[in-house]
Amino acid sequence: MQTTTVEEAVSRIPDGASLMVGGFMGVGTPERLMDELVRQGKRNLAVIANDTAMPGVGIGKLVSAGLLRKAITSHIGLNPETQKKMLAGEIEVDLVPQGTLIERIRSAGYGLGGVLTPTGVGTVVEEGKRKLEVDGREYLLETALHADFALVQAFLSDYFGNLTYVLTARNFNPVIAMAGKTVIADAEHVVPVGMISPDHIITPAAIVDYLVRT
C-alpha cells in the first residue's frame, strides 16, 4: 500500500477505465475521488455500482459531467439525468438485480466464474443467460464482473491501509475492494497501526493499493 494525494490517485485512472464505486445513494461513496474525476475530465468511463445516486451527489457527479459511457447498476430511479442520458443513448445502462450485482462482483474478487441465483428466473433478466437446474430448481448463471479499479470509501484506516466501515456506508465497499484490479481507498480518519482491533478490520491493507491522504 502507498499513500497518495487525491490528484495522483485519480491521475492513475485512464480514460475508458472500468470503475467499481462504493456507495448506496451516495452514502459510502468516496466523494473526493468523484470530484477529482470530474476535475480531471476523464472520458468514457464504465461504472459498476449499486446506483447512480442523485444529481450533485456521488456517482451523480460523473453522470452530470458526461464522464460515463456505461453504468452497470441496480437502480437509477433517483437520478433523472441518468434516465435522460440512457434514453438519449448517451449512456448504456445495464440494470442488474442488486443481490445479483453484488454476487457478480464478489465472484470476481473471490476467484469464481459466477454464481447460480434464482433471482430473475422467469423475468426479462433471464434473457440471453444460461439456465441450469440444480436439485429440481432453476437458476440463472450470472457471471463474474471485473473492473480495473475499485474506489472505496472507509471510515477508519490505519497507516497500513487496514479499513473499517460504519453503519450503512459499508454496503458495496468491502466487496469491491476484493474485485478491483487496483484498489484506491479514501478514509474519513487515519489512525495509528494497532488502534483497530484485528477482529474489527474488514478490509485488510494487503489488498489496498493506494490510500488517499487526508
Binding site: P97, T119, T123, L167
Partner: protein
C-alpha cells in the same frame, strides 16, 4: 382512515415476535409504525442494517445511516451493520421471514409486477427481484386500483418481478391470499362488500361462503 393507513395497519397484524422483516419503499415503510405492542421485530434495510428505527429529527441525522431509499434513519439498540453481499444473502437465503413490497400489478396466479412500466418508468429493480424471490413470505401492499384501472389482473401486462408467486395482497378494500396458484378473498375492509371488491378486481377470485371483515382499530 386513509387507504394507506388501513393497508399498513392490516399488514402489521402479520408481524410476529422475532421475525426478520424487510419493508419496501412507500406504503410498506409505514407498517413499522404499527408493530403490535409487546413484540420485538427485526427490521432489515437491504443497504446493510438489521435494526432500523424511526426517522430521526432533522438535526439528529447521521449521514452514514440511511434506509434503502437513501433517507436518514435511526438504528435501535442491538442493530447490526453488514455489507451488501451479506444483506442479499439474508434475503435470497430465506433468512428474511417476511417482505412487504409495493405493487403495480398482481395477477390471478399471484405473480407480481412492481419494478417498471416500459417506456414510462425505468428505475431499475434494485432489490425487489431478490426480495420477491427469496423472502420466506411475500406480502404486497398496494391500492386496489390505479386511476380506476384494476391492479389485480388476470395476467400481468407489465414485466414480472419474479416467477415465484406472492403470498398475500393487502389493499384498502381487501386481503387476498395466493393459495395453490389462485387468489382467494380472505377479508374485506370495513364498510366494503364482496361485490365491491369483485367489481374492482379483474382477476378471478375464489370467494368462500363467508368473508370476514378486516379488524382495524
Amino acid at each position: 382512515m386513509d387507504a394507506q393507513t388501513v393497508i399498513a395497519k392490516r399488514i402489521a397484524q402479520e408481524l410476529r415476535a422475532g421475525m426478520l422483516v424487510n419493508l419496501g419503499i412507500g406504503i410498506p415503510t409505514r407498517v413499522a409504525n404499527f408493530v403490535p405492542p409487546g413484540i420485538h421485530v427485526y427490521f432489515q434495510s437491504e443497504n446493510g442494517l438489521i435494526g432500523t428505527g424511526p426517522i430521526p429529527e432533522e438535526a439528529m441525522t447521521q449521514p452514514r445511516l440511511t434506509d434503502a431509499g437513501g433517507r436518514p434513519v435511526t438504528a435501535v439498540p442491538g442493530a447490526v451493520a453488514f455489507d451488501s453481499a451479506f444483506s442479499f444473502g439474508l434475503i435470497r437465503g430465506g433468512h428474511v421471514d417476511m417482505t412487504v413490497l409495493g405493487g403495480l400489478q398482481v395477477d390471478e396466479r399471484g405473480l407480481l409486477a412492481n419494478w417498471m412500466i416500459p417506456g414510462k418508468m425505468v428505475p431499475g429493480m434494485g432489490g425487489a427481484m431478490d426480495l420477491a424471490t427469496g423472502a420466506k413470505r411475500v406480502v404486497v401492499a398496494m391500492q386496489h386500483s390505479a386511476k380506476g384501472k384494476a391492479k389485480i389482473v388476470r395476467q400481468c401486462s407489465l414485466p414480472l418481478t419474479s416467477s415465484r408467486p406472492i403470498d398475500l395482497v393487502v389493499t384498502e378494500l381487501a386481503v387476498l391470499a395466493q393459495v395453490d396458484g389462485h387468489l382467494e378473498l380472505l377479508e374485506t375492509a370495513p364498510g366494503v362488500t364482496v361485490a365491491q371488491v369483485l367489481a374492482a378486481t379483474e382477476a378471478k377470485l375464489e370467494v368462500p361462503a363467508a368473508v370476514p371483515t378486516m379488524r382495524i382499530e
